[in-house]
Each structure stands twice: as structure tokens, then as C-alpha cells.
């Protein structure tokens, strides 16, 4: 049974009872008024039923195994939501006097200190709303840092395995991106890097472990090359879940980092956001952070806007505060021992899946992986079944598909990130289903090709969507 678009639900009487009556006798002059606004008038029960129907059509972490690679779909603890909803945090206006918001500023300051300990960085900004905005912030910091040193390097190096946001962010900050190739082991090819690393390079952006789920073992060598060229090292923290408490970005040699709090720090993904892509920097780059930052003077917290080297602002106000509160709660709960266990279990879970499935699905880099493993469905493809087909068949078995066709280096890629919060029992179920699907490739390919059949819709025609360009509801006849 489909679900009507909300605009097609039967209209109720205009009767809104959410607001107080108005009382002072002033009304907007006609000449400023808009043409009639035609939104549907619905009863509360209409709205509740509608959205409940919609919510039941989705897979989510709370309802399904969701091994979407590079997205770290771990369990989102409920205490975090509870804390974020406390009235003493949620009912604060961002322009209240500083004395009335000492509590939230203390939280932000303490959270900053915790993140510094965990990463080896010296200061953080909470402004970026996502990893991509963090990357842009980082690239602007790199640009300004070089400029104040009298240099104007024009390039940023990214590996061929990088997230798409890396080159896109570097480009937004006005840099040309240069791709460094991976070697046969799936790691940055040091010789290729040597060839392109020179004084025209402003920064190199790396994810470690990289998107193949492999640790860049030569990270110190890369640091050395960057140092020689005067380039900064940027850490895309999307995969930090593999390394929390094990090492730090600072130890690995990074100068600027972002952390995706909606990944490693368990804040809910909310259908695509809000997240937070907080950015940390080393001491020498501290003054370049966006304004304001939270500082503490003799026991009192305040917002410091007086930073002459700052790159400016990335958003109005200070950050996605309710996301930050969730992440703060999470790391207080886990502590130093907890974060290390997170990474150990995330890595163990991924390696277990790799070991159990590598005979059925090609693991192009058969080394110990970190928190995620990339399979190639190239053998299945030869028999007419693609990574996409396998993904859709997983849906019928109640599993959200892994990330598909990424990284681009691996043909027919399925990138699986189980996270530490999944049990062996769930992993065994996934492994069993994947093996069954692999045998269906031989025995019953049509069941894979036709999947899914258990969802509200069958395979969706994405080509048609591009052609039809239907991005909104229209009233009949419009």
C-alpha cells in the first residue's frame, strides 16, 4: 500500500490551536502581503499517522544491521539524546549574556580538552556541520597559513582512494587537486608521491586507515616528504573509529584534522544530518581557527573573537550544539579505556567478516584490515550479477547494503563497515546471508536480479528520475 503525498490528504478545517490568541491590534498593511499560501490544513492525528507510515518504510541502525562503509553506522546511545534535550541546554539562545551560558561554555571547553587529548591537537573549532565543511575549513587554514608565511602554493594532493569530498573541498578553497596513485598493496605509492611533492603543494589530505580499510604504514615517510616540501598534512577523520586510543593523528604527523562526530562519536545520522565535522589543529595553526573559540580566563568561560589570523566564520554562531552534547556524553561514558575497546572491536569485527567471506567474495587486498573491508564482486559480475544486485538482495534479507562502487579503485566494490556495536551473532547472520547470495548467483540468479521484493517498492528507476525532473508535488492541473 503506497502512502499518499501529504498534500493529497483530505483537508480539515482551518483551526490551529497551537498558538495563543493575538491581542494587541496591529496588522500588516496589505501592500506587503503575499499571494495566498496554500499549505494543507491537517489534524494532528493525520500528521502523526502520515509520518509513522513513512518511518516504517526505512531501514535504520535501531532496526537493522547497517554496515555502510565509511559511514560508521554504530549504535546511537539514548542517554546522548536525553542529555541534548535537557531544557538547560536546549532553551539557550546563542546571543544570551556570557554569564548566563557558563554551563554550555564549560561543556564545550571540556569537550575541546578531551578531543585534544584523544587526537594530540592543541585546539578545536566546533563550527563545521559535517566532515566536508571541516575539510573546507582545514584547506582555508592551510591557505592562510602559507600566505602569512609569504607563500602561495597552489596544489593539494589527494590519493586515488580519497572520499569525493576531499578533492571537492580543496577545489572550493581554490586549490588544484593532484591525485597520488595507490600501489599494489592499496597504500599511497611513495615513489609517485615523491614525484609530485614539491613546493607548489599546500597540503596532502589523507584518510588513515584509508578507504580500502588499510593502515598507511608509511605515514611517517609521507610526513617527512611533506615536511621537506613545506606542505601541511590534513587528516580526514572519517575513519577514526579504527584508531581511537591506539594512536593519535598528531603522532601520525598530521597538522589539521577533522572528526566526524556522527561517525566515531555515535551521534545519530538523522537521514543525512545534522552531523558535526569539528576541526583540530596543532599549536602553530591555533590562531587560524574560525572565530569565536571558547576560552577560559580565571575560572570564567567566554567566546574569543579577537583572532587576527582567523580564516573567519564557517557558520552563524558556534556549531551544531545538540550534536556536540551527544558526542561529549559519549566520550565521557567511554573514557580512555572505552575508546580503545571501540577501535579494537571495530577492527576485530571487520577482520572476522573478511576472513569468513574472502573465499566467496574477492578481497583484493588480503592483509589485516582495519575497521572496514572492501570486497570486489568481480567474480560474480562475470556470471552476470553485479555489486548492485547483491546489495539489493541484502535488503530482502533485512540488511542495509554496504557502500557500493567505492572506492573507485576496486571494481564492483562492496565496502563493509560492521562497527564495534554489532555482535558476533549479527556478523554470523550477515556472513551466512552473503554466502547464500553467492550460491544463488549459480542456483537462482533471477532472485538476485529481481531483488528486493519485500520492500514497499521494487527496484527504483533512477534514470527515469533524472529524465522526469519531478522534484516537488503539484496540485492537479498545475
Amino acid at each position: 500500500m503506497g502512502c499518499k503525498v501529504i498534500f493529497d490528504i483530505t483537508m480539515r478545517e482551518k483551526k490551529n490551536s497551537y498558538l495563543p490568541e493575538f491581542s494587541c491590534g496591529y496588522a500588516l498593511p496589505e501592500k506587503f502581503k503575499r499571494k495566498e499560501l496554500c499549505l494543507p490544513e491537517l489534524g494532528e492525528l493525520d500528521v502523526i499517522r502520515h509520518y509513522n507510515k513513512l518511518s516504517n518504510k526505512n531501514f535504520s541502525v535501531d532496526t537493522h544491521f547497517y554496515p555502510l562503509g565509511s559511514c560508521t553506522m554504530k549504535y546511537n546511545p539514548k542517554i546522548n539524546d536525553y542529555i541534548a534535550g535537557l531544557e538547560n541546554f536546549s532553551a539557550l539562545h546563542p546571543l544570551q549574556p556570557i554569564d548566563d551560558v557558563q554551563g554550555i561554555l564549560e561543556v564545550l571547553y571540556t569537550f575541546q580538552e578531551l578531543l585534544c587529548s584523544l587526537t594530540g591537537m592543541s585546539a578545536f573549532t566546533f563550527q563545521p556541520s559535517s566532515g566536508a565543511q571541516g575539510e573546507l575549513t582545514g584547506m582555508l587554514i592551510a591557505r592562510k597559513f602559507h600566505e602569512l608565511n609569504g607563500r602561495r602554493p597552489s596544489k593539494v594532493i589527494v590519493p586515488d582512494t580519497a572520499h569525493g569530498t576531499n578533492p571537492a573541498s580543496a577545489a572550493m578553497a581554490g586549490f588544484d587537486t593532484v591525485i597520488v596513485k595507490s600501489n599494489d598493496n592499496g597504500l599511497v605509492d611513495i615513489n609517485s608521491l615523491k614525484d609530485i611533492m614539491d613546493e607548489s603543494v599546500a597540503a596532502i589530505m589523507l584518510t588513515n586507515p584509508n578507504t580500502l580499510g588499510l593502515f598507511e604504514k608509511d605515514i611517517l615517510k609521507i610526513r617527512e616528504l611533506a615536511d621537506k616540501a613545506g606542505a601541511l598534512m590534513y587528516y580526514d577523520g572519517a575513519n577514526f573509529n579504527a584508531l581511537m586510543g591506539v594512536t593519535t593523528p598528531r603522532m601520525m604527523g598530521f597538522d589539521i584534522i577533522h572528526l566526524n562526530l556522527h561517525k566515531s562519536f555515535s551521534t545519530p545520522h538523522g537521514c543525512g544530518g545534522p552531523g558535526a565535522g569539528v576541526v583540530g589543529v596543532t599549536e602553530k595553526l591555533k590562531d587560524f581557527l574560525p572565530v569565536p573559540i571558547v576560552v577560559k580566563d580565571s575560572g570564567r568561560y567566554r567566546l574569543n573573537y579577537d583572532m587576527k589570523k582567523s580564516v573567519g566564520k564557517l557558520r552563524a554562531f558556534y556549531g551544531n550544539i545538540s550534536v556536540l552534547l551527544r558526542a561529549y556524553t559519549y566520550i565521557l561514558r567511554l573514557g580512555g579505556d572505552g575508546v580503545k575497546r571501540v577501535s579494537e572491536n571495530a577492527v576485530l569485527n571487520a577482520n572476522y567478516i573478511k576472513e569468513k567471506l574472502k573465499d566467496d567474495f574477492k578481497a583484493p587486498y588480503d592483509d589485516i584490515c582495519m575497521h572496514e573491508v572492501v570486497f570486489s564482486c568481480i567474480n560474480q559480475k562475470e556470471k552476470g550479477i553485479t555489486a548492485l544486485d547483491i546489495a539489493k538482495r541484502l535488503i530482502d534479507r533485512g540488511i542495509h547494503p554496504p557502500t557500493m562502487y567505492f572506492p573507485l579503485l576496486v571494481k564492483e566494490a562492496l565496502m563493509v563497515e560492521p562497527t564495534e556495536t554489532e555482535s558476533k551473532e549479527t556478523l554470523d547472520y550477515f556472513i551466512d546471508i552473503m554466502r547464500k547470495i553467492n550460491s544463488e548467483v549459480e542456483t537462482n540468479p533471477s532472485i538476485i536480479k529481481n531483488a528486493p521484493v519485500t520492500m514497499p517498492v521494487k527496484r527504483v528507476d533512477e534514470v527515469r528520475a533524472v529524465r522526469d525532473m519531478d522534484f516537488r508535488w503539484h496540485k492537479d492541473g498545475d
Binding site: C3, V5, I6, N16, L19, F22, C24, Y26, L39, E44, V47, H50, Y51, L54, S55, N58, F59, S60, D62, M73, I79, D81, H93, V101, I104, S117, S129, R143, G164, T165, P167, A168, A170, T177, I219, M251, S266, H269, C271, G272, P274, G312, R315, F317, I321, S322, G335, N345, V347, E355, K392, H400, V457, V460, D461, V466, M469, D470, F471, R472
Partner: protein
């Protein structure tokens, strides 16, 4: 161990399966010199202890509900119906990610399609994306979009844009050679339009609350092929003339007033709507309606070749994660409010703000330096405004935002906002307390 389900037995079994002695060994290829030698943070704690600690910190805040708040300046304290929280707390919205797999995300996709429709109806524009980060970055993205379309270098900004948005705009353009120029009046805007201008940006109601109607500039822009960008408060569109009626190319703004609550400034969401002919230059996710294999209505993310995961450095933006849950929240809020409810919100804001304005007019030390019709906020002047605001706060009133923070020549100007949450009695209280302060009581 919180949130980890595997037992020690499970772990041992898994280690045996991968033929490794200990979990430590999984990290053996990390050079020893860069391994942490000890725990990097204090030990973790129970849920109860964490709650106690954070609640003690929370207690150091004074909320807007404990005083009478008249703060706005881009972030508004509107009433949010309880049903909004119920819906957006549902796990299948809260804990799902971007709907990459449409077959198991039809609810999310339809909710976003409906959100896009709501934003089009509100702004009077053709097409909406699925959200951006906030109003400030939405403006920056709109300008970048305008620059891509017009393929020229200059951005003309009419004074009255939220100063934080202007700051973010110049940050976003910090790595480029584009030029941003601010003009103070409509006349000077017209005189500055030329063949080099890519974009004209204005906000209405502007940061000072004034309802701006730069119609002549907009029609002049058409002659030069200049892209017009209109920053707008979505709640104002319950009653005010729309960007569509003004015939602008792009509308954008902050979606926080649509059900997001305050949360000390975030999250809200950025919205962007545009003329359909520019859809391929739009940044961000867009949901489209299509069919499934059986010909049944279905939804999916579409026009993805604009985006970073496909186009990489040539993408229309780097945006990946956005603020979907807040966009869906806006949809839920508008579904509950309806046309009647939203226009009521705007009307009540108008009513209260004008009542306050007129009551302030009774006070001889209060002046009004900014002229023009306003909706929900306005500027008033008083000598030593900084001290006056501090005294008002001590008396239990957040009387407004000191414009001197952003404009050195406005150090005695205060921007004050009313919403439906400010009762007539609250406003009378404001006025009485201000009289006390000015009388030195």
C-alpha cells in the same frame, strides 16, 4: 563495556577464526613509535555518573524560559508543537543515514520530497534542494551557484544582510579571486550593476528587521543577466511577499524558525530554492519522484552527477552530509501548522513587535534610527545601550541584541524581536523594567 555486545568468548572465537592471538596484534603494523603508551583519557563512567556530571554543568545555564527573552537577530524562539519531537525522534528517521538505497528508504525520500515541496510553496520558487548546513552557508552556496551560472567575478551585496552571513560568505570565497562589494542603498546598487557583476544579494526582512523591496534593482539585474539572491526568513513567508513574486533567481535562508528550537545556535538548517532552469547548478542532495519496476510511485536521490561523490573536484559543492533531520522537522512543523498556523505565527509576531515598538515610543530616552516597515524585529536606540542591556538582564529581561557588536557606528542601537511566545504582559514588563533602568531605579 558500554555499547559492545561481544563477550570475551565471542572475541576469542573471532580471533581464532582469523588466526591471530590477540586484538592488539590487529594493530601490529602501526609503528611502535606512534602507538599510544597509555590511555589518552580518564576512565569511562556509568550512565548515571555521566548524567550527574553533565546535569551539574547544565545547571550553570540560565534558559530563555527563566527570563523574558526578546532575542532574535537570525535565531528565533518560536513555539514548537509537541508532536514535532515525537515524530523526529522515531528511530527510523533519527538513526538512518542518507537514503542511498531508495528501496529501503522510501519514507525518508518521500519526507524530503514533501519538504522540498513545502519550501517551494513557501518561497514561491520552482525547485528546492534537500537542505544545506545553515542560513549562512546557504547564502555562500547560493552566491557560488550564481557565480557558476553567470561566469563573472563580482558579487554585489546590499547592506542589511545578517553580518554573520556576510562573514561566512567572505570565508567561503576566501580561496577564490571573486570580489564582494557592499552597497548601502538601492540607488547605489543600481549604479554599481555592470557586465562584471555575477550576483546581487539582498535580505528581506533585513538584519535590522526592515522589509526591503529592491524591485528596481531586480529588474535592472535582468538586463545584465545578473543572478539575484534573496535571503529570507521562512516564517515571514507566512504573510510577506515571496521571493517568487519578486522574480528572483535563488532564495535561501535559515530554516531554524521552522520547528528546530534554540539549542544555543544549532542545529537548524540551510534552505535553498531556485528557478528550475538552474537546477543543474544547485548544490546538495535533491530527491526526485519516479517509478519502480512495477510502475509504482517511488522516490530517489537524483541529478547526482552534480555531486562530489561522482564529480569530485568539479562538483557543484563539497557537501555530503546535510541537515536532513532538521529539514524533515520543518516539513512536520509545516504539516502541523498549515497555512493558517504559519500565517498566524507571522501575524502574531507582527502584532507583538509593533505593540512593543509603540510602547517604547512612549519613553523619551528611546529613539528609532532605522526607518521602514518591519515584521518581527526592529532597531531602537538608547544612550549607553551596553549598560542598559546588562541592567535589563539583571531585571529578568533579555531586551535585545547590541548592534555595536557588528557595527561600530551603531553602539547605542539594539535589535529586538518578538515572537508568539512573548505575551502582552511580557512586553509591558519589558517596558516597565526599561523605565526603571533609565530612571536609575
Amino acid at each position: 563495556m558500554p555499547y559492545i555486545l561481544n563477550t570475551e568468548n565471542d572475541r576469542q572465537a573471532m580471533l581464532r577464526a582469523i588466526d591471530i592471538e590477540s586484538a592488539e596484534k590487529l594493530f601490529s603494523f602501526i609503528p611502535a613509535s606512534i602507538k599510544a603508551k597509555e590511555y589518552l583519557l580518564d576512565k569511562g563512567c556509568s550512565e548515571f555518573s555521566a548524567l550527574q556530571k553533565i546535569k551539574a554543568q547544565a545547571a550553570k545555564n540560565t534558559t530563555v524560559n527563566e527570563k523574558k527573552s526578546f532575542l532574535g537577530a537570525g535565531w528565533y524562539d518560536h513555539y514548537v508543537p509537541a508532536a514535532v519531537f515525537d515524530i523526529i525522534s522515531k528511530p527510523q528517521f533519527l538513526t538512518a543515514y542518507t537514503p542511498y538505497q531508495p528501496e529501503c528508504s522510501q519514507g525518508i525520500l518521500q519526507a524530503i520530497y514533501e519538504y522540498q515541496t513545502y519550501m517551494c510553496l513557501l518561497t514561491g520558487m520552482d525547485v528546492s534542494n534537500a537542505s544545506l548546513f545553515d542560513g549562512a552557508s546557504a547564502l555562500a552556496e547560493s552566491v557560488l551557484m550564481g557565480l557558476r551560472i553567470a561566469k563573472k567575478n563580482k558579487v554585489l551585496v546590499l547592506k542589511g544582510i545578517n553580518p554573520q552571513y556576510e562573514n561566512v560568505l567572505s570565508t567561503y570565497l576566501g580561496g577564490t579571486t571573486y570580489i564582494i562589494e557592499e552597497v548601502k542603498t538601492i540607488e547605489s546598487a543600481i549604479s554599481k550593476l555592470d557586465d562584471e557583476t555575477a550576483c546581487f544579494v539582498f535580505q528581506t526582512p533585513d538584519f535590522f528587521g526592515v522589509i526591503n523591496e529592491p524591485d528596481e534593482v531586480i529588474s535592472e539585474c535582468k538586463k545584465y543577466g545578473i543572478i539575484t539572491v534573496n535571503v529570507v526568513n521562512p516564517v515571514s513567508l507566512g504573510i510577506l511577499k515571496t521571493p517568487g513574486e519578486r522574480d528572483v533567481d535563488i532564495a535561501c535562508g535559515e530554516g531554524q524558525p521552522l520547528g528546530a528550537g534554540l539549542n544555543y545556535g544549532g542545529p537548524g538548517f540551510g534552505f535553498m530554492t531556485a528557478n528550475i532552469k538552474y537546477v543543474r547548478q544547485m548544490p546538495g542532495r535533491i530527491v526526485g519522484k519516479t517509478l519502480d519496476l512495477d510502475g509504482k510511485t517511488a522516490y530517489c536521490l537524483t541529478l547526482q552527477t552534480r555531486e562530489q561523490h561522482i564529480r569530485r573536484e568539479k562538483a557543484t559543492s563539497n557537501i555530503c552530509s546535510n541537515q536532513s533531520l532538521n529539514a524533515i522537522t520543518a516539513g512536520v512543523y509545516l504539516a502541523l501548522m498549515g497555512s493558517d498556523g504559519l500565517s498566524n505565527v507571522a501575524n502574531i509576531c507582527y502584532d507583538r513587535a509593533h505593540y512593543l515598538y509603540n510602547r517604547l515610543g512612549e519613553i523619551k530616552d528611546v529613539r528609532f534610527s532605522v526607518k521602514g516597515e518591519f515584521l518581527n524585529e526592529f532597531v531602537w536606540n538608547v544612550k549607553d545601550a551596553f549598560d542598559v542591556l546588562a541592567c535589563m538582564s539583571d531585571k529578568g529581561v533579555y531586551a535585545g541584541y547590541l548592534l555595536g557588536n557588528d557595527y561600530p557606528d551603531m553602539k547605542d542601537s539594539v535589535l529586538t524581536c518578538c515572537t508568539e511566545k512573548n505575551s502582552k504582559a511580557d512586553i509591558d514588563f519589558f517596558v516597565n523594567k526599561l523605565k526603571e533602568v533609565l530612571d536609575g531605579v
